[in-house]
Every structure is written in structure tokens, then in C-alpha cells.
Symmetry: C2
Subunit: 534 residues, 2 copies
């Protein structure tokens, strides 16, 4: 703990007013649920920011346990003009972690609201609070022996609700086109408690069965925004199939990404592959399975030769795709043969393989990717940030969306690789096909957080990538705090009609601007212009 | 043309102000695109309203052809406080047709904006204007020989955009859970032109490939609402499968609906059936294929005995399900055997049959249902409203949503049938399973529009059904003009938190309340209380 630490104060109020607000929060929640010490707050910084940075630091953290407490929090925040910043678990690594956009904001961490409220085994859905992690929901399903699979993200520590609200990907069939959310409960900025869809009718039986209501559907408004605090959400669960068959594809040349993507599109459009494949370049798999120094210790970016040696040494492709089938046994055989034929005919040297499993075996599979695609969460996919050595690896996720064509894959690859090379950073890429028509190219801009120069180069190149990618027609699917405004600036059609639309909704729903100001470039009126916050 | 006709005037302006506004519209659009005569307006009334009713009559109809003209229309409407009411084609039969909620509104008919702007054969999508009908888009696809199928509604005359915006069902795989819309362009009430999703970035390549953008997703807000006028929309197209296999299921007893639904749920949850089946009772098929007088001419509702005779005579079930497979040949065989076994084992006397077809044969199939499920539009499914004889049959669609369980199907059936019987109306039902977890029970409340007493009884019982269904936990998916307010009143959780949310958005986006006031129970501030409009 630094003796010189002073609590950051948000714009518009004084340090004394902030202290009084924190006391008011403590009166409501109990002092043990209001974190205010420098030591406690450290956990809520961007874990990958250079340690000298204090751009996105919070002034306190609230840990409510009930909807009523959240309503009390927004009441106090309105009365005292305190900016809040909400998260479920606050994972969000690569995009700023749990840290707020506006320095001095008070974090509303929903980690303690972690109950699985319902699992409906007849209709195949769960209802969860926002602090429920993939681990928690998976365990709740398995404990009662419910014959369902959950579509999960790579790392089990994340919040199911939080990931959903950030447009985070998941990999099982319900991850395709973000299918699994159904029905929300939301605390609005004025404390109103609203339920979406059929939940707007008290006692309606279809709240988590039908994604719409009578009238407009607001659910999408509460994702990647700051219009409300989601307190409950329905999650669709998929029945366990007769056969789970994780599959692998490797291709030998870097340009094979084009025919790979074009073949994949056909197989996804026709429904043969119905899940979210992830296509990794050699370096991404290398970062998970190995470390850089084993293959290259020279100057500048890793060489083509070293990448080739790595592919051979690790027995992976220049691109490797992880994917899976979830089918009746006979259909799995048919689809596997079709998939294998399609890729191996389209791409010389391509290899497709996989093994059928009883879904009961999923938690015991050796490869973490085969468990992830089977819905069994872990933290095993988290090794990659040690790439440049040291204990303090970090990364930025730079993640443009593109149409699912080989031409676009080549274009995005070339742009990312060349701009990263200019600043001496390796091109580490994971492409997830979020729908049969689009992919997100997650560029893992990895750095050593203790290397201030490397950190600065990483953030700088990402900012420039935002602009250069937009010039070519590619927009980010999610933006790091550091260039959130810049990324949203690129969405400028109609003289920023979309931003103005969001601002009008923001001002109507949250006139005091207390909910996550600046999130996704949406600023409340009082912070919108000229005061130096934005 | 009645000599005594006077143009209805909307609330808040005088007849002279209305006339001046109609002239201003004509100055912008040309007089031929502003319909003002009683004769021209007749086509834009609810076709099923009793002819003496003038509750929902418009004062004029505008037929813009460009986005710029729509922007001019909203400018004039704002300046002169003229309520507009927008439709694509204005079909919407059973829910009020093209007619406006507020008497004297000026209809903005987008029928003349009917261009198919783009068909992308690589990625499988089209971009259409709001006047494009199922017929038009189907023909555009077929004309260029694009190997794609469009998920269509029952009647080919409807607007693709209009149906989508009203939560209208379609039956092919992309109809499941309303998957096919991707990307919108919208004129807001202040004339702003906004594009949603990736379209918010000028020149973005993924506008119609990825359903979200960076930030909140507003698309759902423009459905069943009055927040904007949608001027373009992306529509996902499905590749034609190797085999199209329309299927039929009949069950012999009325209570068989319960095991039918429970078996169907399992087959939909596990992905065996991936489209929107429709389950019709004997009377619905009877209304399409036959007429009532052939089977029953006695007093009161049609008897059980007559229904039994009809089922036998028409060779249909007490419930008949139309559905289909779209698969590789080998998978179709596997799935057909599985489906047939599942239903025939679960329900004594159930029969499942069907024939595999090359998709090229779809337009030539004899049964209209087999063409509809194959994406080939027609008007052949439109015979049913002649049920009670006469040329002027009409119907109200009373359509609650329920979880996809046999218990719920029985509960909804019993409620509908008993309340309709009380007023002497037959129970005519089509159940569409919009997702693997929910169905919409479309109760076809058929009447003879020339029979004032029967019309009155039909509207009256529907209003009472709204309330009684809600008490049991079932809410309408779509509401007729006549009880739009009553239906939305039932969505009252949190002291009408959802309504207040919609009103805040309405007031923020459309402060003068010009866009479709009253639609889906959303009223602008100036018409909200006490002036007798609502």
C-alpha cells in the first residue's frame, strides 16, 4: 500500500462528497460490502495496464447481494451524482478487465449475486444472477444430472451474464449468432425494475421460452451499453447429443486460410457445422502450448522460419481449426466424412480428424479445447500471455468483424500482421466464426506489462489499427477502454446518427448520467463535451 | 362513394390544418402519390371490420418512393403535428390490416418502395426495401438462379420487412426464433437516417453478415413499435438443401395434442426438426379445404360429431401437423425414421408420412403447405375466412404465446374453446412452434363481416380472452388494433415498468408524437392521457 495514494475522484463532485457517498453506500450495504482501500481496489484495475497507469481506476467497489440493494445504489448515485461502473465478474481481459472508463467511478461488482435461480429440465433453460460464472452454472447442471450442455467461453471464471452483455463469444451450437439469452430483468437508472419479453407480464409462463414480448424488444439495448443493470437472465441449454465429436483441421500454408474459410462457409451455411469454430494461427497455439523463447530469441518479430519450426515441433498447422459435431451417431458419421472430404479436397495437405465420444466423457478429455467445446469449463486456455517471458504478460484483444470469405480473411490478416510488425509485435490470431456469414478476428496483441515501452507500442498500434481497419470496412466487435471512443467514432454513418440515437436514449433513461458513463462511447449529457473527461 | 363522407381529422389539428398538410405532402411527393378520396382510402381500412365501423380510418395515404421522400414526410408531419401510420404492404389481416390506430392518421404506405437492392450469392443474403413482397423476393432469387431459399409466411402478398417488424412467423429453418433479419436502415422521427449494426460504419462490409455492431443493438426496438420507419433490411437466405422433405403427422384424438407437443419438443430441442411446424385442428384445415355448411348446419358451435365426420371426410387428423426436413439425403432418411418412430410410439393411431423432393420441384408441388414450407409463395392458403358462408368472411387472430409443453397446449385450447363456445363461435386453431421452447396459438376467430351481431361477439370475446389468458400466464404475441391497449395493459410487471420505458424512449425520439401513435399501446406524451383518444 502506497503511503501517497489518494482516492481518485470522479468529475463533478468533490473528494468530500465522494467520501460521503461511500458512507451512504456503506449504510445501505454494510461496510464489508463497500471496498475502499487501495489494496482492495487493486484487484479491480485493468490487469494488463502498465502499473504506473492510473487512467481507469475506481474509487470504491460495491458488492450488492440483492436487487433491492442495487435499487438503493442507483438512488444514492442519482442523489449524489456518483458515476457507477457495473460488471458481473469483471473478467473482460484484453478489453480493460473490471476497470471503469471514468476515473473515480464506483464499481458495482455483481460477483456476490451468484445464484442459479432455476433450471428447467423440461424446456431446457436456466435463470441466473449476473455473478454466476460458467463454472457455477455448469456445476449446477451437472450436480442435478440435468441432461443439458451449456455453451461456454474459453475461461470458466467469466460471468455468464457479463459475457453475454459484452457480446462475448461461446463455442457450442447456441453460441452461433448469440442464441442463448432469453429474457432479462433490469434495474434502470431511476431504480425502476423492468422485465423484458414475456416477463413484462407478471406470472407469464414463457419468459424464458420466447425471446420477444408484445411490443419492441429492448434486450439488445442492454448489451454493450450503459442503459441499465441486468439482474437476472434466462439461458438456453442444449440437450446432450448422442455423440459429441471434437474435430481438428490443420492446413500447411499461411495462405490456406482463404480456402479454409471459403470451405467452412459452405459447411456452415448448409448446417453441416453448427457451432462456433475457432481458427488459430501457429503463434496462438504456440502461445497456449509453449513459449516464444523456445523458438526464437532474435531481434524483431518472430521469423517465418521460426514459425515453420514451431508448427512442425508442436505438430500444429499454420492454421489449426478446433470445431465439433453434436449429433446422432449416424449423422455424426455422415457429417464427419463430408467435412473431411470437403477440406482435404479443397486444400492440399489439409488434415481433418476427430473422435466420437459419449458426452459423459467430456470432463475427462485431455485437450482443454475439446472440453471447452463440450461445455466443461476450466482455466486451462489461459497460458498465452506469457509469450514474451516473465510473469506479467498481458494482451489487448483487437477484434474486427468481417464477412466470412477467404478474401476478407487475407485482407484482415495482412493488415494486422503488417501493422504489428512495424512496431515489433508478433501476429497472434484467433478467428471465431460467430455466424455462418461472419467472423471476428481476435488479434491477441500480447506484451509484457512490466515493459513500459512495449506496452506503449501495443496500445499505440491498436489505436491506429482501429482507424485503418475501419477504412477497409472492418469494425471492432468490442473495444478496449483505452480506445473505446475512437472505436465508436468509426461508426459514423449519417453524421453519427447511431451515436446521437444512443445519446438520446441515454439522456431519457439516465438524465443524471450515473450508469457507466463513457461505456462504448456513450456519454451522458453532463460529460459529453468539453470537460476533458472524454 | 358516399355523398356524406367527411375526411376524418386526427386529434390536435383542425380539418383545415389537415387539408393544408395533405397539400404539403402532395407538393413533396406529387399529387398522384397522395391518396385522399374516399374510394382510394377504402382499400386501407381493416378489411374485416364491420362496414359501419369507422374507428380506424385514415385521412390520406402517402406513397413515397425514396428515403428522402420519407424524410420530407416526417419533417412536414412534425411541423404540422400530423400523426402518421406506416406499413410495408399493409396485409396484417386479423390484426387490423393497413388501418391506423388513431382515426385520421395519414398512412405512409411503403408499397411503392419495392426494390430488391442486393442478392449476395456468396454469403447468402438479400437487401430489400419495405414494400418488397414474398412474391417479389422469391422471384428475384429464382430469376437469377441463386441457389437459396427464402423463409416465407403463409401468404405471398405480405411485405418481407413488414412481416418481420410485426413479429410475423415464417416456416423454414430461418423462421425458427426469427433468425433471418440482419441489419436495418431507419428514418427516425426527426428525419435522421440511421443504420444499425455494422451498417453504422460507412462502407462496412459485414452489415448484413453480423447482427450486432459496436454498442447496443437497436433492431428489436423497431419491431412492434413506433420508434422509426425502416427503409432497408438485410434478409438471410438459406442454401437449397440436397433434399426437401415435406412431412405430415395426424393424430386421431383431440387430447393427442399433449403428447404431440411433448414429442415435438424433444425433436426440436435436439435439432432433429429445425423449422417452424404448424399444427392445425380439424376445423382450421376444414376452413382451408372445405366449408362449414357441408358438415354442420345446426344451431350453436359445430358439434364433436360433425368435427369427427369432417376429419374422416377430409382424411385429416383431429390435429394435423405440417412440417419438413431440409437435409442431405442420408440425413433426411435418418431423421424421417426417427421422427416417425417417435410420434407413432408416443401416440396410438398417429401417422407420419412424407416424400423426398429435389428442391427444384417445390413450385410444382400440389399441396400449398408443401410449397409454403419450401419457400414458394402463393395465396392458396387464404380460403379459410369463408367458413360461415358468404363472400365477406373475416377473422381476428387471437394469438397467445405459451411454453412448448403438452400441459400448456391443453390449457390454452380449453380456455379458447370454452370462451368462444359461450358466444357461439367455433374453435379454429393453428399452433406454430416459433422456437424449440414456445408456441404461438393462433386462434382464428372467424366471422361474417356482414353479420354485425357476430362481428360484435367476436371482438367482445377476444377482448375478454386477452384478460383471461393473461390471468393464466399467457400473453399475446401480436394484438389487433381493437384491443391493442388492453393487450399491452396485461404486461404490467413493476407497475408497468415496460410501458414507462417505452414511453420514455418514444418521447426522446419522437417528441411531437408523429410516428404511429398508439401502436402496440405506445402513446406519445401529447396523446397519453385524458383526451379520449386512447
Amino acid at each position: 500500500v502506497s503511503a501517497t495514494w489518494t482516492r481518485p475522484v470522479p468529475p463533478g463532485i468533490t473528494a468530500a462528497e465522494l467520501e460521503a457517498a461511500l458512507e451512504a453506500f456503506a449504510d445501505e450495504l454494510g461496510a464489508e460490502r463497500v471496498l475502499v482501500s487501495e489494496a482492495d481496489l487493486r484487484e479491480f484495475r485493468d490487469p494488463f495496464q502498465h502499473e504506473s497507469s492510473d487512467a481507469f481506476t475506481a474509487s470504491g467497489v460495491l458488492l450488492p447481494t440483492t436487487v433491492e440493494e442495487i435499487q438503493a445504489i442507483v438512488r444514492i448515485a442519482n442523489e449524489r451524482t456518483v458515476p457507477l461502473w457495473t460488471h458481473g465478474q469483471g473478467r473482460n481481459n484484453g478489453y480493460g478487465g473490471p476497470a471503469p472508463r471514468v476515473k473515480g467511478s464506483v464499481i458495482v461488482s455483481l460477483r456476490a449475486m451468484n445464484r442459479v435461480l432455476e433450471i428447467d429440465e423440461e424446456l431446457g433453460y436456466a435463470v441466473v444472477e449476473p455473478g454466476v460464472r460458467w463454472f457455477d452454472l455448469y456445476e449446477a447442471i451437472e450436480e442435478r444430472g440435468a441432461p443439458f450442455m451449456l455453451s461456454i467461453a474459453d475461461l470458466g471464471w467469466g460471468s455468464v451474464v457479463g459475457n453475454t452483455l459484452e457480446h462475448g463469444g461461446t463455442y457450442l451450437p447456441y453460441g452461433l449468432d448469440f442464441q442463448m439469452q432469453c429474457g432479462m430483468e433490469v434495474v434502470l437508472a431511476d431504480g425502476d425494475l423492468m422485465r423484458t419479453g414475456m416477463g413484462a407480464m407478471e406470472g407469464n409462463r414463457a419468459w424464458h421460452c420466447y425471446k420477444r414480448g408484445l411490443g419492441p424488444t429492448p434486450d439488445g439495448l442492454f448489451m454493450q451499453s450503459n442503459f441499465g443493470i441486468v439482474t437476472k437472465m434466462g439461458v438456453w441449454l442444449m440437450p446432450k447429443p448422442e455423440v459429441y465429436m471434437p474435430l481438428w483441421l490443420t492446413v500447411p500454408r499461411d495462405d490456406d486460410i482463404a480456402p479454409l474459410i471459403d470451405t467452412l462457409r459452405v459447411l456452415m451455411l448448409d448446417g453441416t457445422i453448427r457451432m462456433v469454430p475457432q481458427i488459430m494461427n501457429t503463434l496462438l497455439l504456440g502461445a497456449v502450448l509453449s513459449d516464444r523463447a523456445r523458438w526464437y530469441t532474435g531481434p524483431g518479430v518472430i521469423t517465418e522460419e521460426a514459425i515453420g519450426a514451431m508448427a512442425q515441433g508442436l505438430d500444429v498447422g499454420r492454421w489449426t481449426m478446433r470445431f465439433a459435431l453434436y449429433e446422432d451417431d449416424a449423422v455424426a458419421d455422415h457429417k464427419f466424412a463430408k467435412i473431411k472430404r470437403a477440406f482435404e479436397e479443397a486444400i492440399p495437405g489439409a488434415k481433418v480428424w476427430g473422435t466420437k465420444h459419449d458426452p459423459a466423457d467430456i470432463p475427462h478429455l485431455e485437450h482443454p479445447a475439446e472440453r471447452i467445446q463440450g461445455g466443461a469449463p476450466s482455466l486451462d486456455w489461459n497460458n498465452m500471455t506469457g509469450w514474451y517471458g516473465g510473469e506479467q504478460g498481458g494482451h489487448i484483444g483487437f477484434s474486427p468483424i468481417a464477412p466470412l470469405t477467404g478474401r476478407d480473411a487475407i485482407e484482415v490478416r495482412d493488415l494486422m500482421r503488417s501493422m504489428l510488425a512495424e512496431v515489433g509485435l508478433d501476429y497472434i490470431a484467433g478467428i471465431s466464426t460467430l455466424s455462418p456469414r461472419s467472423f471476428v478476428h481476435v488479434t491477441m496483441v500480447i506484451f509484457d506489462t512490466s515493459d513500459a515501452d512495449q506496452v506503449a507500442r501495443a496500445y499505440d498500434v491498436c489505436s491506429r489499427l482501429v482507424v485503418e481497419a475501419a477504412k477497409k470496412g472492418y469494425g471492432e466487435y468490442r473495444a478496449h477502454l483505452d480506445f473505446m471512443d475512437l472505436a465508436t467514432d468509426q461508426y459514423a454513418f449519417g453524421e453519427h446518427a447511431y451515436r446521437r440515437f444512443n445519446e438520446r436514449i441515454k439522456d431519457a433513461l439516465d438524465p443524471n448520467g450515473i450508469l457507466s458513463p463513457g461505456k462504448q462511447g456513450i456519454w451522458p449529457a453532463r460529460l459529453r463535451d468539453g470537460d476533458g473527461v472524454r
